[in-house]
């Protein structure tokens, strides 16, 4: 029984602190209850069940139904909703758009974050200032960021086209053209996510012990070989974390599409989540929207699994 443990033994064998003995503070019965792990995780389990598990099961159920919410009519549809997704020409386009968008935003997001992280890892007044500035987009809401970028990328009045013209380049239509709309939302997403990723990279870089760099210096390791043989391998857990979170983030992007292009023109910048929203709330086909959500869940699970299989072995812990 824990109550008999003397106070001085309140550390585990490795010397780490254990939970403080609550017996003195709380009535004995409550104390006993609180020592049961199931009680402690119960609030989280209940909340997850209500707000995540139930909606998922509900989505699976509705995906096999035709449901008109106005008349309240419900009928069993079998796999018709799933079939209509595969038969829909839009589905292949949004999948392609999403894969391109996710690949480029994740790759460039990580590369830029690494570059900025390495440039800013030393703690001086100037680098701290630049760090704060770069982090700012992360705390600003997507709505504000998007509105700002819509002005910058405005084909007629935007500063980006002005600069392009100044350097003799052809001005672009940006989100107004099917050719550049996806690129436009990628630019905004990368820019918005960069501050957070860079900050995580800097934290990761600062946790690499300096003696390793000193040893490398003694061994006359060059700048590039230090980067590829020391910095990146030791940073791999951080990069892996960013890879997983930004991949999931990229696949579930909604706000940037909804605010900037609405998926257009001609579906050229439509991504999966926005497309699902359109099926549900614009075309009012709830069954099909739920079926698309279920397939999307499987896709995200599969991609996360691939990430784990291919990259987790290369991660140094």
């Amino acid at each position: 029984m824990q109550e008999n443990i003397p106070a001085k033994q309140l550390h585990d064998k490795k010397g780490g602190p254990t939970l403080m003995k609550p017996g003195r503070m709380l009535p004995r019965a409550l104390n006993k209850v609180l020592q049961n792990p199931y009680v402690l995780i119960a609030p989280a389990v209940i909340l997850v069940s209500i707000f995540s598990l139930y909606p998922i099961l509900f989505a699976v159920k509705v995906s096999f139904m035709n449901w008109d919410v106005v008349t309240g009519e419900q009928s069993f549809a079998g796999f018709n909703n799933y079939r209509s997704i595969f038969a829909d020409p839009d589905s292949m386009q949004v999948l392609k758009n999403t894969l391109i968008y996710a690949f480029f935003t994740v790759c460039f997001g990580l590369i830029f974050a690494l570059m900025i992280g390495i440039l800013l890892q030393k703690s001086t007044f100037l680098t701290n200032l630049v760090q704060s500035v770069i982090f700012t987009p992360h705390i600003v809401s997507f709505v504000s960021v998007t509105i700002m970028w819509m002005w910058l990328l405005d084909p007629q009045m935007g500063i980006v086209n002005y600069v392009l013209k100044m350097f003799g380049f052809e001005p672009q239509l940006w989100m107004m053209s099917p050719k550049t709309s996806l690129l436009s939302i990628m630019i905004v997403s990368i820019w918005k996510g960069l501050g957070f990723s860079a900050m995580i990279v800097i934290a990761g870089l600062q946790s690499i012990p300096s003696y390793i760099y000193e040893a490398a210096k003694l061994d006359r390791s060059g700048r590039w070989s230090t980067l590829f043989r020391i910095t990146i391998p030791l940073l791999s857990p951080t990069l892996f974390f960013l890879l997983i979170t930004s991949t999931i983030g990229a696949f579930s992007s909604f706000d940037v599409v909804n605010l900037m292009t609405g998926g257009g023109p001609q579906g050229s910048s439509n991504l999966i989540v926005h497309w699902i929203y359109q099926i549900g709330f614009l075309k009012f086909q709830l069954g099909k929207a739920m079926a698309a959500s279920v397939l999307f869940l499987i896709l995200i699970g599969f991609i996360s699994l691939l990430n784990f299989m291919f990259f987790s072995k290369k991660v140094h812990y």
């Binding site: 199931y38 209500i50 940006w174 053209s177 900037m260 257009g264």
Partner: protein, 443 residues
């Protein structure tokens, strides 16, 4: 397995948490239901019938302010009723929230919906003739109730309604040697625009945009004798010359720099067009009659006149704006109270003041006879043009998927003016195919 104190107590605690959660939900539910039906006012002395109204405007909106004030006045005059208006974020906002409310079975009593959305919501809308007097219903102007009937049943009461109309800068037209009454047809408009345009002074002959729901394009299609969907709503009918003629015409005007069409990334085309016109930089502008009130209130440095929307093969123009429905799921008392509120909103006093302030149509016949409106006509004859035009009113497409359809159509229309090398025939045919697909998928 023997139940221990530890196990028992943990089960008890988990049970308490779950019970608490459900009890919490339960309490709020019952409160919400009560609020929707009857609330106690006057310190509990009198039971009030509470009528929730979901509006496209919130109270900070200039038009919304008049509706909120009207509800306040109505509540003061009817102590047994409390109309509670709440803004739900525009036409699309009301539609989206109504969908969610239908799933949750927590609908408001009144919803202010875009005219064409009745095609979707009529199964849950009450027969208004049960809750409004025959005189009140017959008093609405006929052109505005064409989209209020479903199978002969009056289900939507007009609220803020408008049509497109041609605004003219008579000074610029006269300076170009053109008649100040403006063009009668789209072809004439093209000729007028070319003559009135002065590219060296950055003056355009014509300024407009398609509108976010392709409203102006739709109206022009009707004027060319076309239709968007067939009468029974099963077939797309715009994938032909009548659908693309106006696109081709506007494209040519843009190419020849006779037309100002802002296609910037901001969703403010309407404001930019109006701004151009009010600065005296556009001789003509196609816009809603709903803009007339605010534009006439502004001091213009030129003679502002209006004319019918140009004809293609005939005079025909779309109506727009919002109607109000009563949800059939409300209690009988609520529906009666809501009907009473609709009659209040159709009273001459409110109709006249709303017309004067907003520029939206006076929606009733009797209001047109009032001294206030006659005096207004004398001072600003421009107001009368919009009313006269109503004899050619055309209702919006009778298709429950119209919202999904126009979202895709308007993208192609915009592209036609952004990239003037695009073939309008191909764009419209593609939009028609896509629209047909949307309709077929969700019959």
């Amino acid at each position: 397995m023997r139940p221990t104190v530890k196990k028992m107590s943990s089960i008890a605690l988990v049970g308490t948490i779950i019970a608490g959660l459900f009890a919490g939900c339960g309490t709020s539910d019952s409160k919400a239901n009560n609020a929707g039906q009857v609330g106690s006012g006057d310190g509990g002395k009198q039971e009030k019938v509470v009528v929730d109204m979901w509006s496209i405007w919130d109270s900070s909106n200039s038009n919304g302010k008049y509706l909120f004030d009207a509800a306040k006045q109505f509540n003061e005059a009817n102590p047994g009723i409390e109309v509670v208006v709440s803004g739900q974020g525009g036409y699309d906002g009301v539609a989206e929230k109504l969908e969610a409310a239908l799933v949750a079975k927590k609908t408001p009593v009144i919803a202010q919906i875009e005219e064409s959305f009745l095609t979707r919501y009529h199964p849950v809308a009450a027969d208004l003739s049960q809750y409004m007097s025959k005189e009140a219903i017959d008093n609405y102007i006929e052109g505005l109730t064409r989209s209020s009937y479903v199978d002969g049943i009056f289900k939507a009461a007009p609220m803020n309604r408008s049509t497109p109309i041609l605004y003219l800068n008579a000074d610029l037209l006269k300076a170009a040697g053109l008649p100040a009454e403006g063009p009668k047809t789209w072809d004439e408009l093209y000729e007028f625009a070319k003559k009135a345009a002065q590219p060296n002074k950055e003056i355009y002959g014509f300024a407009s945009h398609w509108d976010s729901d392709a409203w102006f394009w739709e109206s022009a299609v009707y004027s060319y004798g076309g239709e968007i969907v067939s009468e029974d709503g099963s077939k797309v009918e715009f994938g032909n010359e009548k659908g693309w003629k106006i696109v081709e015409l506007w494209q040519n005007m843009v190419k020849e720099k006779a037309m100002f069409s802002p296609y910037g990334s901001q969703d403010s085309q309407s404001d930019l067009v109006k701004q151009k016109f009010m600065e005296g930089k556009a001789a003509m502008m196609l816009d809603s009659t709903g803009s007339l009130g605010p534009l006439l209130k502004e001091s213009q440095p030129f003679d502002l006149q209006v004319a019918f929307q140009p004809a293609g093969e005939k005079n025909s123009m779309v109506t727009g704006g919002a109607n109000m429905i009563i949800l059939d799921s409300a209690t009988e008392e609520q529906k009666k109270a809501a009907g009473k509120f609709f009659e209040f909103l159709a009273s001459d006093d409110f109709v006249v003041s709303f017309f004067k302030n907003s520029g939206y149509f006076p929606i009733t016949k009797s209001s047109l006879e009032t001294e206030a409106i006659q005096a207004l006509y004398k001072e600003f004859p421009q107001y009368k043009v919009g009313i006269d035009q109503l004899q050619y009113a055309h209702k919006r497409p009778w298709q429950k998927n119209w919202r999904a359809m126009y979202t895709t159509i308007v993208e192609d229309l915009r592209l036609a003016l952004i990239d003037t090398n695009q073939d309008p025939k191909q764009l419209i045919q593609k939009a028609a195919e896509k629209s047909q697909q949307i309709m077929d998928e969700n019959k």
